[in-house]
């Protein structure tokens, strides 16, 4: 497991069809999960493998009670209970450790069912809640300040290296 975007390409490799990316609201980077298809009939597993090779042939629907996977052509519906999903996400989050999003605390209290994401209505509520918006802005600024303090010198070096002419004027574009 891992959170690297480059692993999206692994879907073309043998066995890659069972690896799915889960965009967890807690993190910026996706978590990668491996589906265990050993408990379903072989015919269904083969239909899933085949469908995963086609764009749009499978649909994934996270729900508060679990993860539903529809194999569109055959009509098979796979179901992964919430407990299994959460255990897998917990394991993936440990393997690919990353900080939680800066706005998670402000948004979490609007997630009424603790399902891990916001519905359209809940999202609207956050936008109309002045306190929530202030919290998000404060968290954003705090995160930026921390990052700047940690990485500012490196970014200045990157900028200086890229600003080849140092004359304050734009370089004429090449090939544009």
């Amino acid at each position: 497991m891992g959170g690297e975007l480059s692993q999206l390409k692994d879907a073309d490799k043998p066995g890659g069809a069972k690896h799915v990316l889960y965009f967890d609201r807690r993190f910026v980077s996706a978590l990668e999960l491996e589906l265990d298809l050993r408990s379903i009939p072989g015919e269904t597993a083969r239909a899933f493998d085949t469908a995963q090779q086609k764009v749009g042939a499978t649909e994934f629907l996270p729900t508060p009670e679990g993860l539903a996977i529809l194999i569109c052509e055959s009509g098979h519906l796979l179901w992964i209970p919430k407990e299994n999903v959460q255990n897998a996400l917990g394991d993936a989050a440990k393997i690919y450790a990353q900080p939680e999003r800066f706005d998670l605390a402000a948004l979490r209290r609007f997630d009424s069912a603790h399902k891990g994401w916001l519905t359209d209505d809940e999202r609207h509520a956050t936008r109309r809640d002045a306190v929530c918006q202030q919290e998000i802005q404060a968290a954003l600024e705090s995160s930026a300040r921390t990052s700047l303090a940690q990485n500012g010198p490196q970014w200045e070096t990157i900028f200086a290296d890229a600003d080849a002419n140092h004359d304050g004027k734009a370089v004429p574009p090449s090939g544009t």
Partner: protein
């Protein structure tokens, strides 16, 4: 480091900086599906499509991926636009349809020509 810093012009310098440091910018660029120079608009506060050190550091320090910043409605107010005019369905995101120029409204897309000589 030079005492005088200029601005990073869009393609030659900005993209070179990002390309030379993929690990630094990997998370920032995740999920982005448009040219970098366009995606960076929220940080081009001088509206010239070039980036001063201050603008560049603001971009780098933002904890959000660039794709998310582009979808958000908040940045349009920095350019004199009103959120309610850009986010017409009030869902908190600027969708591709909402980016299309409309009569009488200077949308983010319609404003693309700024800075071009």
């Amino acid at each position: 480091m030079p005492t005088t810093m200029g601005k990073l012009f869009r393609r030659p310098e900005l993209e070179a900086a990002v390309a030379a440091h993929p690990k630094v910018f990997r998370e920032k660029l995740r999920g982005m599906n448009q040219p970098l120079v366009r995606a960076m608009r929220p940080y081009a506060l001088e509206a010239d499509y070039s980036y001063s050190l201050s603008e560049f550091k603001t971009f780098a320090a933002d904890p959000r991926p660039l794709a998310e910043v582009n979808l958000s409605v908040d940045w349009v107010t920095k350019f004199g636009l009103k959120v309610e005019q850009c986010d017409t369905n009030d869902d908190g995101m600027i969708s591709p349809n909402e980016r299309k120029p409309r009569a009488g409204i200077a949308t983010a897309t319609a404003d693309d020509s700024r800075g071009k000589k």
